[in-house]
Point group: C2
Chain length 325, copies 2
């Protein structure tokens, strides 16, 4: 049994509970809202964010009955941003299905995104903890700005590693961190534990996004469920390219720039680019960096004593590095 299946086996009941909660807490008055929200929510997502919250809560000794309910906050928020981001990215496929805005139109996609954001907020209020709502607000502010940051720097070849790090922190890592931190808060965990589980989430989130950016160069469309090379087509410069561009000699850099600037690059062009990413070790470096953050994430968990739950969270960290989609 590979790592993914081992983890899935151990979290099977949790995932079932999360699925039920996601269905039960949607509550729109219009059927079309269920349909569009369902299109994005029930299309084979990994449920990584709510799962992190449920497991983190267990690790922090949560004893209430609302972990699954509260975990929907982070899946609804995630789905809301996907609805808005797909529109932003003009993406065509998401998890192997046509994206919502292409099926239902821009307007409905944006507004159902707003609805999901509001639902996440309503459920956050139900925790009865002011700082949970506060974290949610902060995460949303940073996510929208992270996306905007990426857009305003689109196609600009001088994007440095530092700025890339800031973007992925805002658009991805803070949501992971938020899911973990909220679980510590609803569990009344000690400050030391809240910090540890937040660090786990943050570092996991950074590594997750780096692995995601790698997959755009190493996977194929059928296993990824979206177009390969999509980042580059959208003008998004990610770490493999940023690192390689910086190290390339003049001739190779010129060739890379030509390919990157040509929005309609061919399959052949893309293969040349990948060779150059290999030559200048952009892929290897990104993998190394992701590994570093995964190590930090796992290290943070050492504050907690050994348990089945800790083992699963450590396993998830390893999975993030090896995942194929």
């Amino acid at each position: 049994m590979n790592l993914k299946h081992k983890i899935l086996d151990m979290v099977n009941d949790d995932l079932k509970g999360i699925e039920t909660a996601l269905k039960q807490n949607l509550n729109p008055y219009l059927d079309i809202v269920s349909e569009v929200a369902g299109h994005i929510l029930f299309s084979g997502g990994k449920r990584l964010r709510p799962l992190l919250m449920v497991l983190s809560a267990r690790l922090c000794g949560y004893s209430g009955n609302y972990d699954k309910t509260f975990s929907t906050i982070f899946e609804y928020l995630h789905a809301a941003t996907l609805l808005h981001d797909d529109l932003v990215d003009e993406a065509k496929l998401r998890r192997g299905k046509p994206v919502a805005y292409s099926v239902y139109g821009n307007s409905i996609a944006v507004l159902v995104g707003d609805f999901l954001l509001a639902r996440a907020l309503s459920i956050a209020v139900e925790t009865g903890r002011n700082n949970v709502v506060s974290i949610m607000a902060e995460v949303t502010e940073h996510m929208s700005q992270g996306e905007i940051h990426q857009i305003v720097r689109k196609g600009q070849l001088d994007l440095a590693e530092e700025e890339y790090m800031m973007i992925i922190q805002n658009k991805t890592a803070l949501l992971f961190k938020g899911a973990c931190r909220v679980s510590a808060i609803i569990s009344d965990a000690a400050e030391k534990e809240e910090k540890a589980i937040s660090d786990y989430g943050y570092n996991l989130g950074i590594a997750f996004q780096m692995a995601d950016d790698l997959l755009d160069y190493t996977s194929d469309t059928s296993s990824l469920g979206k177009e390969v090379g999509a980042d580059l087509k959208e003008g998004k410069l990610t770490l493999p390219v940023i690192y390689s561009l910086k190290r390339a000699d003049l001739k190779d850099r010129a060739q890379m720039e030509m390919i990157i600037k040509n929005e309609k690059f061919s399959v052949h062009d893309f293969e040349i680019l990948i060779e150059l990413l290999k030559k200048y070790e952009g892929l290897k470096y990104t993998e190394k960096q992701a590994k570093k953050y995964i190590a930090k994430a796992k290290e943070a968990l050492m504050v907690f004593k050994p348990s089945k739950t800790r083992k699963i969270l450590l396993g998830i960290a390893d999975y993030v590095l090896t995942r194929k989609a």
Copy 2:
């Protein structure tokens, strides 16, 4: 001095305070976010929602220093929905200026909307009252669904008055009600006062939207700051049309339907339609209904003893009926 100027004279200091608060509480880390948010926020909006909150709080005896700060919640939320709605409506002008998405692109408009929503949320958390955040979540859920409701019924001639009422309640009146109700909550007002000021806001909101829908048939582009007949072009059936369609004889109804269904109706067509709205009293009926809700709004204020603030709120109710833009 006309009513509008009389009111403006009495709320001059409040409006200045609200302007300052709107500038101070935005806090993005990206300049482009200030620019786009500024495009919608500082373009001559009436500040009706934050003003209602500040005045309602005063009426309820609020004695803190944060009324202006908290009032930004409702202007940021309003601006967020405008950014998303203009995209939805494919509008071209807003307050006489090109709409944000046409200047900055769809993606930025959507994401700055998300940012404003998140800012509103952050400030709601600062009130330290769980039910303020809860009201905000509920208002946002209803607003998005009200807009979606309008879209799914676009161009459908069987929209009844009842369903129209539900749409304008969700997309407009609940935000007005929310602004007023929150002011009662932060003032620790008695239940009776909270209910009264909420009723004022709700009824004012309904009348405001009816007046808005009337203006689409009675105003001209230069004073309205947006295209006249825009609702109809977008397939939005509002009360003047709904009422007239129901009462028209077969021949007139056929003509109205032809004009409504033709997205590219001419100025001449539009004039014919207005004549028919007059003939079947759709304009008069809408005005009568708006007056009824204004009367209810004013009646609700009778719970409070006479004061300068009550007088201003009564004046605002009258203004909603007479406004030209």
